[in-house]
Symmetry: C3
Subunit: 202 residues, 3 copies
């Protein structure tokens, strides 16, 4: 049951990330191939960078075809039905925020599996959750959005810190994961709703 829930979040998150890539690429008037590459980068870029930094190679999506199939399908469907999909922006935000939480937890767990320091694990969680969007923006010639104003990485970092705090308490690992995903989801959606951003330093 719990496995199924996480699996569903993973799938929905991957789809949402890919769809966000498709829309970003269409804004820049890319052609079909360009859109597909940007959808890929957005969906698996964070995990790919993480695995390249860790040396866990070949990268995951080459060994698990579920991701390429999901991304290609999401790309084709979004292009064919762009108006309909565009109407689901609010729904996509929900999936995207769930995906952010899920990918962050995956990154945290991978860091732990490599026996790295909690601070590095938090960085790996953030890279997994956020750097697909960063590489997408750089590829499209713009300064990454999350470097500028959005509460996005911050939600991921917060989740990572809470993850390690909760591990100090004797509660089941499964529950920790679900709580952390919920916190990241909540932080992200509340921030979007209230248009919150990090305090300005300028």
């Amino acid at each position: 049951m719990k496995f199924d829930l996480l699996r569903l979040i993973d799938i929905l998150g991957t789809i949402s990330f890919a769809v966000s890539g498709v829309f970003a690429a269409m804004q820049k008037k890319l052609d079909l191939f360009g859109i597909l590459v940007i959808a890929f980068i957005t969906a698996v870029g964070g995990g790919t960078l993480r695995d390249m930094l860790l040396g866990d190679l070949p990268v995951g999506w080459m060994r698990n075809l579920v991701y390429p199939v999901l991304i290609v399908t999401a790309t084709v469907v979004t292009i064919l039905f762009k108006k309909i999909v565009g109407n689901f922006q609010a729904t996509l935000l929900v999936f995207d925020s769930l995906g952010l939480g899920f990918f962050t937890v995956i990154g945290l767990q991978k860091g732990i599996a490599f026996e790295l320091h909690p601070g590095i694990c938090v960085a790996l969680g953030t890279i997994t959750g956020c750097f697909g969007g960063v590489i997408r923006d750089i590829s499209l010639g713009t300064i990454p959005l999350i470097f500028q104003k959005e509460i996005y990485a911050s939600a991921s970092i917060l989740g990572g810190i809470v993850y390690f705090l909760l591990r100090l308490i004797p509660i089941p690992a499964d529950m920790v994961e679900v709580i952390v995903i919920a916190i990241i989801f909540f932080a992200r959606t509340v921030a979007v709703h209230f248009k919150m951003s990090l305090p300005s330093i300028y």
Copy 2:
């Protein structure tokens, strides 16, 4: 004989890719060092990214000095004789298209050696053939050309698909390689000649 032909295509392809990098860098008025780096990125960037994704490290050009020597030489010659080299644009397009075919086949074979799914092998062929230019464009602050309108990656993808179809028929592996390089070369040059691009989705 056949080995020599492929070897020649590899060398001519590397030179053409490097020269295309030099011209792109000179358009942006880079200095000598910048031009050399961009020539390198264009010529070996695709294979380097592929090897970093696969974990086949250190990357090839660090272990096989033929490539660095070719690239440095091509860069110096192009800078010194830029007008003369510039007159050979049509010749370079031929080499570039041959190189695209050759590098695609190298990527396909590497994916097979890593026992990856045909779809992933096609992606690796495309990455090997096309992503040097992608990283070059991103480094120069522009949206990659092949994300926008050119039939370039499409030729590489087509070649990859044909490669796996031909492997179903009992013909020698050598011949499959030559046929695939020819198809990619043909698709690319015909597309350039007729200014073809992917069907617009806008």
Copy 3:
């Protein structure tokens, strides 16, 4: 004693690189998270790329927490006291040039440890010393400064060549390192002082 000197140069170089990243990020009005990422990229980006190309993974800063701690601290201090730190530009240039020399030597030594050709080792030294700044500039949407006019990479390449020439003479390895760092430092600061750049090819 000598170890302590190199260690100090390493620490001061890392701090200077991080501070230069913070200032570049603040010029682009990034938020706190963006500034921190750019500081990280600038300070460890060159060594990270080198290790990803070599396959020496997980990358160094994940296993040695001194670097993340130095970078986060340098970032926070620079943001809090930006005017004061800004007054130390001349001091930072000194550290930055020392850091360039030190990181170059680290890259050279790593290439030798991997038994690579001297020419590749020189490239690895240059990547270690210079590509943090390159990735920083690309992430910020600008063409890398060192591709355009500064004598920066050239100092690193010069140091690398001198390193291998000096190894032909029977002098202690420690002394070679110190001489090379001094040469890179000298070449860089003299070039900045006299606003020197590579000869124009246009």
